[in-house]
Every structure is written in structure tokens, then in C-alpha cells.
Amino acid sequence: MADKRIYEIVVIIDPKSTEEETTTLTDNLKQIIETQGGSIVKSDDMGLRRMAYEINHRNEGRYWFFEIEGTGGEIAELERRMRVNEAIIRYMTIRVDLDRRRAAKLQEKRTRRSTTRSSNSSRSNDMPFKADDDANEMEEAA
């Protein structure tokens, strides 16, 4: 339980609500997260976008993006609140820390491989390709 989890949340807010309403709404959401013990890493207004399909008879939506660090408890509370809020057309929460960890691992692996390759270049590593080429040439000669 000790490890922190990172979540990405996308919220689509009704475009018909006024500027003021959306700001109070987003402030409200942030407040919920913080009172529940999460911390906001990033919050971003993605602006008014055309949605790929109609939701609740709306063709556009105001997208807001949050990145949250926490334990998971605040997500439950947040989703509960968002579900009952009429102004929120849709929301999606995704846990990203596992994916990021995997990405970091892949990257590390890659750098390690490239360093070993450069240190003993033109040796065993290139062999398979070499052998292949030779075989092709022999076939052609025959």
C-alpha cells in the first residue's frame, strides 16, 4: 500500500454551462481530491472540442484533464460526485503509474543494449545478419 498511484482523469463538461460555472466546478473537483488526501500533479483545460459522437444530445464538450497522485480512495469519492453531477457529460479515470514504470523499464533496457553493442561492436551481436547475407550470396552463386 505504500506506493503512490498516479491517475489521469478526463472530464467532459457541458458546454452550455457558463465560464464561471465550469471554473467553480473544476475548483470543486480539485478540492474534493485534496480533502480526500490526493494531490494534483497537473490540471489542464483542453478547451472546447467537437466530440466524435453525440452524448446527451451534445456535439461539443469542454474537456478538462487532471493528473492525480494518491492512494485510490479519493478516486472513488471523486467518481461518486461526478456521477451525480448533471453538468458532467462524461469522465474517465485511468491508472498510469504501472504503464509508466513499464515504459521506464523498456527505455532502460534499450540504453543498456545500445551501450553493450557499442562496446563490443562488430562482434557476436552482428553475426546473425552476417551469416544470413553470406548464405544468400552462396545460394545465388550456386
Binding site: 478526463v10 467532459i12 489542464d44 483545460d45 483542453m46 478547451g47 472540442r49 466530440m51 466524435a52 459522437y53 452524448i55 464538450g61 474537456y63 484533464f65 462524461r90 474517465m92 485511468i94 504503464d99 509508466r100 513499464r102 515504459a103 521506464a104 523498456l106 527505455q107 534499450r110 545478419f129 544470413d132 547475407d133 544468400n136 545460394e139 545465388e140
Partner: protein, 99 residues
């Protein structure tokens, strides 16, 4: 928001890889098979579901996810891509159906 600084032309890349594949199949013998997965080559570790343009390259016209035999992605990247496209669909960044 979504940063498109290092935006690449994935469509172009897919086409190139298709050509490569075809050349390999019809096969002048000297043609060595290149590493085909474009995403591997670009060293993509994470596919962001908010990067609509990139995802669209792999879900053309009808919005269907491009199969692996056409995009020539590796299994790992295809899985990541499919996941990202499905997430994007959920929040209406990409369509489920187009008619």
C-alpha cells in the same frame, strides 16, 4: 494541451512498411527483412490516448483499428495502441462507429 512537437507522419510510415513487406514477399532474394514495427523504430514506450492525430493514423476512415497484418506493428505496440484507441473512444475523442 497535447504536445505535437515531435509529430510524425504515421500514415506515411505505414505505407512504407507495407511496400517493404510486399517487396519481401514477392522477394528478390537479397532483400533482407527490416524490423517492421514503426513504433518500435520510433522507440515509443507509451501511447497516449489523448494524442488523437497519432491514433487516427491507425484507425482510418471507418474508425476501425488497423489490423496488425496491415500496420505491421509488433504485438506489444499493437496491444498498447488498441488500448489507447479504446480509451479515446470512451471519451469521444475517436468514434465507435462512422456511417
Amino acid at each position: 494541451m497535447a504536445d505535437f512537437e515531435n509529430e510524425r507522419d504515421y500514415r506515411q510510415e505505414i505505407e512504407e512498411s507495407v511496400v517493404q513487406e510486399r517487396a519481401f514477399r514477392t522477394g528478390s532474394r537479397r532483400m533482407s527483412r527490416k524490423k517492421l514495427c514503426g513504433l518500435c523504430r520510433e522507440k515509443v514506450d507509451i501511447i497516449d490516448f489523448k494524442d488523437v492525430r497519432m491514433l487516427q493514423a491507425f484507425a482510418p476512415e471507418r474508425g476501425k483499428i488497423m489490423p496488425r497484418r496491415i500496420s505491421s506493428n509488433c504485438a506489444i505496440h499493437q496491444r498498447m495502441l488498441a488500448e489507447a484507441i479504446k480509451r479515446a473512444r470512451n471519451i469521444a475523442l475517436l468514434p465507435y462507429v462512422t456511417d
